[in-house]
C-alpha cells in the first residue's frame, strides 16, 4: 500500500512557500530484495543480515562517539536518534523499517590490496524491491563499493536503496552509485556515512533513469582530517522529476569536503537540488566547497538550486557556486568550425558533461553501461562509441570482458 513520507530535509529550513525544505514521496516500499541481484564481496569480508531496528541499534554501538547534538533554532533535528544521519533522512528509514527491509551488515577489515564490493540489481517491469547495506570499513582498510541498478528502458517499479558506511581511522571508501532504471521507475537512493580521524570517502553518483528519483547523501566528517569528495552526474528529460539532497556535516578539525554536481535537463524535466555544507562546533581549520553546473536544453525545464553553508565555527572556509544555462555560444562555434552542427554539438556536450563523471566510475563495464544509457537517452545514434565497449557483464564479476 502506498504511503507518503518526507525525504531530503534541508537542515536549516527556509520559507515553506518555496517548497524546498523537503520532498514528499508517495510510494509503496517493499521488503523484498531485487529478484535478480549479483552481490560480490571481497575475500575476508563478513556479512550478517539484520532487521532494520537491529541494524540501527548496532550502529549506535559502532558509529564514532560524538558530543550530544545541540538544538539550534531553525535547524531541523534530523539526526536524532541516530549517531549520524542520511541524506534522505529518518522518515525514509522508518518507511524501510515498516516495510520490513532487511539490512546486510558487511564488515571489511584491512587487507594488502584494495577490496571491492559489487552489487548489481536488475529489476523487472512491475517489480518493487529494496536493498539496504551497512559497510563497516575497518582501520586503514581500502574499499571500493559499486551499486548499479538497471532495468528495461520502459519498465516501471520501485527501488529503494540505502547504503551506510562507518569508516574507521584512516579507512578509505570509494563508493559508486549508478542508476540506470526504466522510465517508469521510482528510485530512492540514500547514503549516510561517518568518517573517523584521517578517513576519506569518495562518491561517484550517476542518476540517469527513472521517472521519479530521490537522492540523499549525508557524509559526517567526525574525525580530524576526515574528507569527502563527490562527483554527481544527472540527466533528466521528458517528464522526469529529480530531487537531490546533499548535506555534508563537518564536525572534526581540518576536515575537507568537495562536491561537484553536473547535470543536464531537457524537455519538461524538473529538478530540485539542496546542497549544504554544515560546519559544526569544533570544525576549525576545515574547508568545504560545492559547485553545481546545470545545462538546460529546453525552455520548459524547471531547475531549482538551493546551496547552503551553515557555520558554527569561525576558522573555516566554505564556498559554493553554480553555473546554470544553455550551451556556451563560443563552444558551439568552436565545434562548428570542425564541421559539427548545433544538434550534434549538443549531444556531444551532454555526453561530455556526463562522460566526465561516468569516467570516474571504478568499473569498466559499469562505465560503458552508463555511457551507453546516456547515448540512448539523447538519441545519439551518430556518436562514436568506444570500439572496445563491453556489451555484457562478466558472469563472475562486474568488469566486462572486452568483446
Amino acid at each position: 500500500m502506498a504511503q507518503t513520507f518526507k525525504v531530503g530535509h534541508l537542515p536549516s529550513i527556509t520559507w515553506n512557500r518555496l517548497h524546498l525544505n523537503e520532498a514528499s514521496v508517495e510510494t509503496a516500499l517493499s521488503g523484498n530484495l531485487p529478484g535478480s541481484r549479483y552481490l560480490s564481496l571481497p575475500q575476508g569480508a563478513s556479512v550478517r543480515t539484520l532487521s532494520f531496528a537491529q541494524a540501527l541499534a548496532e550502529l549506535e554501538k559502532t558509529a564514532p562517539v560524538q558530543e550530544q547534538e545541540k538544538y539550534v533554532a531553525g535547524k531541523a533535528p534530523v539526526y536524532h536518534p541516530q549517531k549520524f544521519g542520511t541524506g534522505l533522512g529518518a522518515d525514509y528509514e522508518q518507511a524501510m523499517q515498516d516495510a520490513g527491509v532487511p539490512v546486510e551488515w558487511i564488515e571489511i577489515g584491512p587487507a594488502e590490496q584494495e577490496q571491492t564490493i559489487t552489487c548489481r540489481m536488475t529489476l523487472q517491469d512491475g517489480e518493487s524491491a529494496s536493498c539496504a547495506q551497512i559497510l563497516h570499513v575497518g582501520e586503514n582498510a581500502q574499499v571500493t563499493a559499486l551499486y548499479v541498478s538497471e532495468s528495461a528502458e520502459d519498465a516501471a517499479g520501485v527501488l529503494a536503496l540505502s547504503v551506510r558506511a562507518v569508516l574507521e581511522k584512516g579507512a578509505s571508501l570509494k563508493l559508486a552509485l549508478v542508476q540506470l532504471l526504466g522510465s517508469g521507475f521510482t528510485a530512492l537512493s540514500d547514503v549516510g556515512l561517518s568518517a573517523a580521524d584521517g578517513a576519506g570517502a569518495e562518491l561517484i553518483q550517476m542518476e540517469l533513469g527513472a521517472d521519479r528519483s530521490y537522492v540523499g547523501v549525508q557524509p559526517e566528517l567526525i574525525g580530524k582530517e576526515a574528507s569527502f569528495d563527490s562527483a554527481m552526474g544527472y540527466l533528466a528529460n521528458g517528464e522526469q522529476r529529480l530531487d537531490i539532497n546533499y548535506n555534508a556535516v563537518q564536525r572534526g578539525r581540518q576536515t575537507r569536503c568537495a562536491m561537484t554536481f553536473d547535470g543536464v535537463l531537457g524537455d519538461r524535466a524538473q529538478k530540485v537540488f539542496r546542497g549544504t555544507i554544515d560546519f559544526r562546533n569544533g570544525s576549525s581549520g576545515s574547508k568545504g566547497e560545492e559547485q553545481e553546473n546545470v545545462l538546460l536544453l529546453s525552455n520548459d525545464v524547471e531547475n531549482r538550486t538551493m546551496p547552503v553553508i551553515l557555520c558554527e565555527e569561525e576558522d573555516v572556509e566554505g564556498s559554493h557556486g553554480a553555473t546554470i544555462g544553455r550551451l556556451d555560444e563560443q563552444v558551439l562555434f568552436y565545434l562548428a568550425t570542425r564541421g559539427i552542427d548545433a544538434a550534434e554539438a549538443q549531444k556531444m556536450m551532454v555526453r561530455a558533461r556526463l562522460g566526465a563523471v561516468a569516467r570516474r566510475i571504478p568499473d569498466e563495464a559499469a562505465r560503458h553501461r552508463a555511457q551507453d544509457y546516456i547515448d540512448r537517452k539523447v538519441n545519439c545514434d551518430t556518436c562514436v562509441r568506444a570500439a572496445d565497449c563491453p556489451q555484457a557483464w562478466n558472469e563472475k564479476g562486474s568488469t566486462g570482458e572486452k568483446s
Binding site: E329, T337, R338, G339, A342, R351, V357, T382
Partner: protein, 251 residues
C-alpha cells in the same frame, strides 16, 4: 592561373557597436599561403572569424565565395564541411570530451562516412608523433589542463587530421616558446607542402613564417587591407613595424 578557392568581395562586418571590417577584398587560390598582419585591434581576428562564420559578427555588405559557392550566409559547420578550418587563438577547453573522440566525431560529421578505426588510430599516432605530442593527449579531455603550447599543437593536430582545403591560423604562434613554434611550424609545413592546403596566417610576429613559403602578405589597419605584397613585405614589416601603414588607405 587556377580559380580562387576563397573570394571575398567588398566585405563589411559589424558588431553592435559599429563596423569593424570595411570593404575587404581578398582572393586565395588552392595551395597558396597568405599572411595577414597588422597592429593590435586592426581586425585580423575579426576577418578570420567572419570568414569562418562566427555568429558574433554580422556581415553587412559584400560576399564570401568558397570554391565557387556563396557561403556568406552559411553556418560555420557548413563552411567547415565545405573545407574551411580555423585554428583558434585561445582554443576552448571541453571537459569530458576526449581529443580522440572529438576528432572521430568531427571527421565523421565532415565526411558523412564511417571511420576505419585502425587507419584513424594509425594516422593519429603518426601525426601526434610529428607534433611531438605525448600519446596520452589523445585520451585526455580536449584542451583541458593543456599548456598554451599543447593547446596550439592540438589545433594543428586537428588541422592535419581534418584535412581542410583552406586553414585560417589565428595567431597560432602567440605565447609559444622557440621550440614550440618550431614544432607547430613543422605541422603547418606538413599541411602546406604534403597536403597541398591553402593558408591564411594571421600573425603579429614572423617567427612562424620562417619555414613557410609565403605567396602574399596583406596589411590590415583599422579594418581595411591597406597594402598587399609578396613575402618581402613580411621582412619590411619586421624591420619597420606597422607605423608607416597607419595612414594608408585601402590597397
Amino acid at each position: 592561373m587556377s580559380e580562387p578557392l576563397l573570394q571575398i568581395r567588398n566585405l563589411c562586418a559589424s558588431i553592435e557597436e559599429g563596423e569593424l571590417l570595411h570593404n575587404i577584398n581578398l582572393e586565395i587560390r588552392p595551395g597558396e599561403t597568405h599572411v595577414l598582419m597588422g597592429p593590435n585591434g586592426a581586425g585580423k581576428s575579426t576577418l578570420g572569424n567572419t570568414i569562418m562564420g562566427s555568429p558574433v559578427y554580422k556581415v553587412t555588405g559584400g560576399s564570401i565565395f568558397f570554391d565557387g559557392q556563396d557561403i556568406t550566409d552559411l553556418s560555420a559547420d557548413k563552411r567547415a564541411a565545405a573545407g574551411l578550418f580555423m585554428s583558434f587563438q585561445n582554443p576552448l577547453e571541453v571537459p569530458g570530451l576526449s581529443m580522440e573522440s572529438f576528432l572521430r566525431n568531427a571527421i565523421r560529421q565532415r565526411t558523412g562516412k564511417p571511420i576505419k578505426i585502425l587507419t584513424f588510430k594509425r594516422e593519429l599516432e603518426e601525426t601526434m608523433k610529428l607534433l611531438q605530442m605525448d600519446e596520452s593527449y589523445a585520451e585526455r579531455d580536449l584542451n583541458v589542463g593543456f599548456s598554451g603550447g599543447e593547446k596550439k599543437k592540438a589545433e594543428i593536430l586537428q588541422l592535419l587530421m581534418l584535412r581542410p582545403r583552406l586553414a585560417i591560423l589565428d595567431e597560432t604562434d602567440s605565447g609559444l616558446d622557440v621550440d614550440a613554434v618550431r614544432t607547430v611550424s613543422m605541422g603547418i609545413e606538413e599541411y602546406q607542402k604534403k597536403r597541398g592546403g591553402a593558408l591564411l596566417v594571421i600573425t603579429h610576429s614572423t617567427r612562424i613564417l620562417d619555414s613557410l613559403d609565403v605567396d602574399y602578405t596583406h596589411v590590415l589597419v583599422r579594418g581595411q587591407i591597406v597594402r598587399t605584397g609578396d613575402a618581402s613585405l613580411v621582412k619590411e614589416i619586421n624591420e619597420g613595424g606597422f607605423e608607416r601603414y597607419a595612414n594608408e588607405k585601402e590597397a
